[in-house]
Amino acid sequence: MSTDVNVKMEALAGVDPNALPLQVKDLQVEFRTRNGIAHAVNGVSFDLRAGETRAILGESGCGKSVTAQAIMGILDSPPGFITGGEILYRGVDLLKLPESERRKVRANRIAMIFQDALSALNPVFTVGFQLAELFRKHRGMSRKDAKARAVELLDLVKIPAAKQRVNDYPHQFSGGMRQRVMIAMALALDPEVLIADEPTTALDVTVQAQIMALLAELQRERNMGLVLITHDMGVVADVADRISVMYAGRVIEEAGVHDIYSTPAHPYTKGLLESIPRLDLKGQQLSAIKGLPPMLTNIPPGCAFNPRCGYAQDICRQDPAPALFQVSPSRTAACHFWKEVKGDE
């Protein structure tokens, strides 16, 4: 039997091929801890088109990784609970599916790359075995065929001498090569959506450039939607089409990449852009955002950013939190004073 035999993807009921590959609507996640309820995600919504790169930008603790875990259905529960919202894959609400159906989506249609490849891979199996396992479990292939596919995949992500390296263990790979193995694993079953959670944070810049170039190439070839979760404004500027900026579990600004960088409409986005040093500018003044992000167990009333914000007025300190205002037909910002923040064109 040849290895390129096209085994049919497991069927999933109710899929509308014309619907978007991924839509998140008003997602709510909370963590019930001993110190109270932490509201990690408070109504996150975004769409993802085929072939599009959506960046979710935010600092640690803003809920970006929890959002990814909720989409993948790998949230630790307890303590984490999804308390509301919808996650639609081509019109099917994943949150309503039983686990057995959900499994057909995971890795098959929506796959994920993790930040730390060393802890995401199993140290006691060879990478070849771990890659082949996907084909054996999801596609019912024989060991031999599955192994051959694993070699093809390592080749695809440009690991030199793939035929030999397939029998190596994760610790025998360097950081960049290990991240390539992770990408190979995520792409194995040809998913339509790839979620990358800080894929290059642990890597050096020269290796980061290699990995981002590889991801972009594979995405283009397959017309795959990419959700890139990161805190790195530089990486986002290089690859993203649309950006959702998150703060304290909410999306506080959503826009195309050029709008965000040229005319940020939320004080937090603006503050972030002014606080990063740039390689191509010298003698630049850094204006830091004062204060600290809030505790998720104790988010201030009104706009969560108000204690750190230079624009804050009384209205910002009162509930409800500002809704997402329509700044232009293609962008929104959750600030009462977005006009002032954005300034005139």
């Binding site: 600092e59 640690s60 360097s174 950081g175 960049g176 090569m177 050096d204 810049v205 020269t206 290796v207 980061q208 450039a209 290699q210 981002m212 170039a213 805190h231 790195d232 404004m233 530089g234 990486v235 986002v236 500027a237 290089d238 993203a240 990449v257 050029h258 960088y261 040229s262 503050g271 972030l272 852009l273 606080s275 990063i276 040093p277 740039r278 390689l279 191509d280 010298k282 630049q284 850094l286 204006s287 830091a288 955002i289 004062k290 600290l292 992000p293």
Partner: protein, 336 residues
């Protein structure tokens, strides 16, 4: 007094690789730092950049005396630290203090902030009489922007950025002239990074400190440093002023490193001169012959394998670079 506060000459640190337990045999060495010459002038900031495994943290540990060099000399204010008496070496160490990378593991969780910042006085009791130490600790807390009333709190009661401020206060306790910052902001969130960088700049201005700033983030180093040294596999491969390194890099590795840094401006997308290197950094236990970068270099010729390029000025750029074919290429502003 001379203007050079710190100098190294051919500083080398090799970590032996041994085999066997009873009959230990050395079969090689990790050449973490392999012949470093640098000078730090009073009041300046020298940035040291390089990828992980290039030896920059070992260099930091050598400079503060946490490691003994295998060979080579370290001069602190003109005194050769390997030739002075133990007592004098101890005094010399007061003048050079370290701010560590990870504010979560570098502070003892069972000590109060007051004890942490006051501990240098236990080691060097003649600096300040006991009675005045508490007041000095509070003064230091105020200096780094923390509330002096929080002196009895524990590290876990502070956020990452605040902990890094505690680490900075501890480094300042003995009034050093030189502060060595080993990746001081890389563990912090973006919005907090700027606060700590601004604090470091303010302190340098007020106290006349000299910094050695070790980081892998080239944008941060450009912001804070006056001069920059680029390291690769235990060697400095290019050194110069901030302008020379960022606007006129001549070593291919520096050029590749700079071109790989993403710039937060989407208008530059696709217009930048990106050099994507192939392969990984070779093992420092077995560095390539000749030029250490030749295995990943697109300019490599036979001579690169045979002859190690010295760190010297070769072209009109005016700053030293360890490449036989050093040539200016502006990768940062290549958008036009």
């Amino acid at each position: 007094m001379s203007d050079i506060v710190l100098e190294t000459r051919d500083l080398v640190k090799h970590f032996p690789l041994t085999r066997g337990v009873v009959f230990k045999k050395q079969y090689g060495a990790v050449r973490a730092v392999d012949g470093i010459n640098l000078q730090l002038r009073r009041g300046e900031t020298l940035g040291v950049v390089g990828e992980s495994g290039c030896g920059k943290s070992t260099l930091a540990r050598l400079l503060v005396g946490l490691e003994t060099p295998t060979s080579g000399d370290l001069f602190v204010q003109g005194k050769n630290m390997s030739q002075v008496s133990a007592e004098e070496r101890r005094r010399g160490r007061r003048n050079i203090q370290l701010v560590m990378q990870d504010p979560y593991t570098s502070l003892n969780p069972r000590m109060t902030v007051g004890d942490i910042i006051g501990e240098p006085f236990e080691v060097h009791p003649d600096v300040l009489p006991k009675a005045r130490r508490r007041a000095r600790v509070q003064e230091l807390l105020d200096l780094v922007g923390l509330n002096p009333d929080h002196i009895n709190r524990y590290p876990h009661q502070f956020s990452g950025g605040q902990r890094q401020r505690i680490g900075i206060a501890r480094a300042l306790a003995l009034n050093p002239e030189i502060i060595l910052c080993d990746e001081p902001v890389s563990a912090l969130d973006v919005s907090i990074q700027a606060q700590v960088i601004n604090l470091l700049e303010k302190l340098q201005h007020e106290l006349g400190l000299s910094y050695i700033f070790i980081a892998h983030d080239l944008s941060v180093v450009r912001h804070i440093a006056n001069r920059v040294a680029v390291m690769y596999l235990g060697r400095i491969i290019e050194i110069g002023t901030e302008d020379e390194i960022y606007d006129n890099p001549t070593h291919p590795y520096t050029q590749a490193l700079l071109s790989a840094v993403p710039v937060p401006d989407p208008r530059l997308r696709g217009h930048r001169d990106q050099i994507v290197l192939t392969g990984d950094v070779p093992s420092p236990a077995n560095p390539p012959s000749g030029c250490r970068f030749r295995t990943r270099c697109w300019k490599a010729q036979d001579v690169c394998a045979e002859q190690e390029p010295m760190l010297e000025v070769r072209d009109k750029s005016g700053h030293p670079s360890a490449c036989h074919f050093a040539e200016v290429r502006d990768v940062v502003h290549a958008s036009e």
